[in-house]
């Protein structure tokens, strides 16, 4: 067994060097491989899309980078202003596409609310909800999704979600990510640009994206970077402080929801270190001190990482063919 241990600063990067590498790659991928002449980025007011936009602006020039701001009914009030501040900071044109009418027309909200109501019958107008997962720390229990609904007068109801309702709610909500991607491709087609996807390594590795939604892109400039490293790039690139200080959120459900409530086992700083140590083939004890957990809990996080990889493998796969069509390269 290795006696190497991981320290909290294991993921420090030389932000200037990493930026140069990404910009060089972006230019050769978008110009050479994809034969497009710029980039479209959907801005969410979060750190990942902000860094992606900044990198595109540096690689292609601000005049060949388009930011899309695509709020909907459940978006946080701050999202639009934060996204605008990012576009302004990098001199990028920002187009606002309010996607609520498209989501209403596809009955995204109605389908979702019907599924919620079948679990919480009182759920109605002005109620808010989110889906949560219990912590992986301290227990070997299976983590089953629960629905947390809040009435207009603040009363909270929590109920375990049956599989059919869970899948229905997620399927309906996925209209949001897919609608945004449809609009990104509209603008990319119109301008002959590439669509830049915004996942960081944690999201990409663990399948935290919607197939055909935020998982779809022509190039993913930061998919190899841990979230901690994306924060380092953000500071170097000059992403506005308010964006860097905002806790990572899904901004998908009507009640505020952190990413670790819905998906990851731990806050991203700890999750990054566990993923890195696991990728290095290090035992749980090697990272336990750095993340402030017992080796048993780190082992649970490792198991959760492996399980998510298995569960979400299909999200990474393109359409499978019955026989190869060798004349066309994948």
């Amino acid at each position: 067994m290795s006696d190497r241990t991981i320290s909290a600063d294991a993921l420090s990067i030389d932000a200037e060097r990493v930026t140069t590498e990404i910009i060089d790659s972006l230019r050769s991928i978008v110009g050479g491989v994809l034969r497009r002449r710029g980039g479209v980025v959907g801005l969410s007011g979060g750190i990942d899309s902000s860094v992606t936009a900044a990198l595109c602006a540096r690689a292609f020039g601000p005049q060949r980078t388009l930011a899309l701001l695509m709020p909907e009914e459940d978006s946080d009030d701050e999202t639009l202003a934060l996204s605008r501040s990012v576009a302004d900071a990098f001199g990028i044109e920002a187009v606002v596409e309010n996607i609520t009418p498209i989501l209403e027309a596809s009955r995204c909200y109605e389908r979702r609310d019907d599924a919620v109501r079948s679990v919480v019958p009182a759920f109605g107008e002005a109620w808010r909800f989110k889906i949560v997962l219990p912590s992986v720390v301290g227990t070997d229990s299976y983590r089953l999704f629960s629905l947390v609904a809040e009435s207009p007068d603040g009363e909270k109801v929590e109920s375990r979600l049956p599989a059919a309702q869970y899948l229905e709610i997620v399927a309906a909500t996925n209209f949001k990510q897919r609608t945004r991607k449809m609009l990104e491709y509209f603008h990319a087609d119109r301008l002959n640009y590439a669509v830049a996807g915004t996942p960081n390594r944690l999201e990409y590795d663990q399948g935290f994206f919607v197939k055909g939604g935020d998982g779809l892109a022509d190039v993913k400039p930061i998919a190899h970077l841990y979230k901690t490293q994306v924060f380092q790039l953000a500071e170097y690139l000059g992403v506005p402080a308010r964006v860097r200080e905002r806790p990572p959120t899904t901004d998908t459900y009507s009640l505020p929801q952190t990413q670790e409530e819905f998906y990851f086992s731990l806050p991203h700083q700890q999750m990054d270190l566990c993923l890195y140590a696991h990728n290095q083939g290090l035992p749980p004890a090697a990272v336990a001190d750095a993340v402030g957990l017992s080796a048993d809990d780190v082992a649970r996080v490792y198991a959760d990482i492996d399980q998510k990889r298995r569960t979400t493998r299909y999200l990474h796969l393109g359409a499978q063919l019955i026989e190869p069509v060798s004349e066309v390269a994948g």
Binding site: P134, D140, S141, Y142, L161, A164, R310
Partner: protein
Amino acid sequence: MEPKIREFLAANFFLGDDPEAIQGSSSLIEAGIIDSTGVLELVGFLEETYEIRIEDDELVPENLDSIDNIVRFVERKRGTVAQS
């Protein structure tokens, strides 16, 4: 009970494989047969079919991660219900 549980797993997760091929003691999660959504479905199936309520603290591998464990757990739950 075991044939019915195997039938449920075969219908929902094996997708054409032989349900008899899985060992009673094999971990369903580690074998990749069920995932987190699969656990939700399994819990719903057991609650409905055997008219039991599975509490949060019972959602552990010792109760649900193999066919043998599931059978033992459901028999225990139903025994508890019958005696109460």
